[in-house]
Symmetry: C2
Subunit: 334 residues, 2 copies
DNA sequence: TTGTAGGCGTTATCAG
DNA sequence: CTGATAACGCCTACAA
């Protein structure tokens, strides 16, 4: 591989000049520019990005930490991040945290050790305090799908409260009043915000909120089936159920079908997230769209703007969920 | 950030010695080892991986090219690769090729420019010849889920023919004889191998293969629905259908249900790949497991062995698919 | 076993 | 506008 030195020799100029034409950051006469460019072509010169990094203390890489590499949610997110960054010539180092505190911290450490220029992280287990401390460090950190009050400028998040509101509102609009709710683990900010939205929608229509119609699930399929079972066992009456993510909705659907419900007539089911398989469920799941892909792109833009000084990027920190109407809900019939 | 130089001063030894205890590649007396380690701790020293790379011409990074970042298939694959490599302290740079020749080549170029020690690529659009040429270069290349005869040692692939065989065999075992087949694009080696397996299973039981029971789809949901429509329109008779991937199986299921079939009694459906949503379909899809996660791990091991000289790794180049029985098939009833 | 010194390929600061 | 030259932080013969 040719080096900058050989290029300079062939072009009859100094190292510095070659560097200048590469980086276009200083005036070089047109004549020498051409000489240098010819020499680069002749030698099929490719800059060594590692040497560049060492000299400039810029790795042009951004670290990404997600909970899992598989799963529809993170796939969309990474796709958004990668496409945006790659287009800017930056590369992405991806690793996982598995939603466990130790592993998340470990992953962040790992990315630090790789000299990333910035980190985009989606963490669930780690505390707000830890993150606040983390952001005081030298490497800029951006939080995906998490809102920390003291760190608003570094956050890209979804208005989960609004999502929760929309979900329940859609059911109310169909005439439902007895609406069961399967929430996610309440220590997760997303989960509790969604529940708050649910309560607001009820309150707005003067429908009381009953604890007996609330079940705290685990955001997994089993949480959905167990939740529905719980309500049935308790003999509470309800005509609709909102599950605070699609996984749980699928669990509820399965359980409902196995126990003789005809969907959606006997029971209306609402999901949340609009993951890929929501469209494959039967009946197709009505849900709340979580624009993770867009949010991924946005986090990348945030990095581009703040770290790589790209101008004129339109930054948006908070995203709004939208209702995706499909086939899993029916009008309330007394 | 402390450098090796400061560590050496504090420990009262030379640079070289510090380097040696870091890399454990030369004898250092226990006494000095301890001195150095203490100094490293005291200074919270972290080696600068970029400087290491420049000096050793090893980046400890491996480039991964997949078609898409989202989608169940690639998620599993990347998860396998990343976990294995991360455990070995290597990191993964991921980019995408979108199944288009130009973009795939571009992605590979991009990874080269990042000084990866090796590449693991899943390419679909690029030719065998191109790959053969590519493998002559300096950077070792490994192919995921693709078999090129001249490159066997660099390939990790699935025995697709066997998968196709197993799929059809399972249906035959249930008494079916008129088995329709929706294949994938035949320029894809996977797709044609699967079809060959189908034919072998038929031949083995002296069941003739009819062109009228073959439809070439696109490996997407629409291919499945269009395929089924095609067979129905042609008024050929069949009691079962094998779709050469799960996407198409879901399309067929949807179309079948919308056209009055009761599943699985009126029509048995078989998929291929066992992607995540296969389990969410209704009825749950019987399919052929494609162990992508394991294959991902294996490709990482291959890199570990060949590039990073890790010993005693059990390398397996060809993986066998297995039948996953669920609820989408029924016994043939005349 | 330990130290010395010359790179690795660029960038960036000064002069000129 | 251009050219020397000193970093950047570490690895690795070669010596001692």
């Amino acid at each position: 591989m040719a080096t900058i030195y050989e290029v300079s020799k062939l072009a009859g100029v100094s190292l510095a000049t070659v560097s200048r034409v590469m980086n276009k950051n200083a005036k070089v006469s047109e004549k020498t520019t051409i000489k240098v460019e010819d020499a680069m072509k002749a030698l099929a010169y490719r800059p060594n990005s590692i040497a560049q990094s060492l000299a400039s203390s810029r790795s042009n890489s951004v670290g990404v930490l997600v909970s899992e590499l598989h799963g529809p949610f993170f796939g969309q997110m990474m796709a958004g991040i990668e496409s945006e960054l790659r287009a800017a010539g930056k590369h992405v180092i991806i690793t996982t945290g598995h939603s466990e505190e130790d592993k998340e911290k470990d992953g962040i450490e790992f990315l630090f050790s790789r000299n990333c220029d910035a980190l985009i992280i989606h963490v669930e287990a780690v505390s707000d305090e830890y993150l606040i401390e983390l952001c005081k460090g030298k490497v800029p950190i951006y939080l995906m799908s998490r809102h920390v009050d003291d760190l608003v400028d570094n956050c890209i998040s979804l208005n989960n409260e609004l999502g929760g509101y929309l979900a329940t509102k859609a059911l109310i609009d169909l005439g439902h009043k007895d609406i069961a709710y399967i929430a996610g683990p309440q220590f997760k900010a997303d989960a509790s915000a969604r529940l708050n939205g649910h309560k607001r929608a009820l309150a707005e229509q003067n429908i009381p909120f009953y604890e007996s119609l609330l079940y705290i699930g685990d955001f997994k399929e089993t949480g959905g089936s167990e939740g529905l079972k719980h309500f049935i066992d308790k003999k509470v009456s309800f005509s609709a159920i909102v599950c605070s993510n699609d996984e749980m909705a699928s669990g509820s659907m399965k359980y409902a079908r196995e126990h003789g419900f005809s969907l959606p007539d006997d029971l209306s089911i609402m999901g949340f997230d609009n993951v890929n398989f929501a469209n494959y469920l039967y009946p197709k799941l009505t849900t709340i769209d979580n624009p993770v892909h867009e949010m991924g792109r946005m986090s990348a833009k945030l990095v581009l703007q703040n770290v790589y000084k790209v101008k004129d990027l339109n930054i948006q920190h908070i995203f709004s969920p939208t209702l995706i109407s499909r086939k899993s809900m029916a009008k309330f019939q007394p």
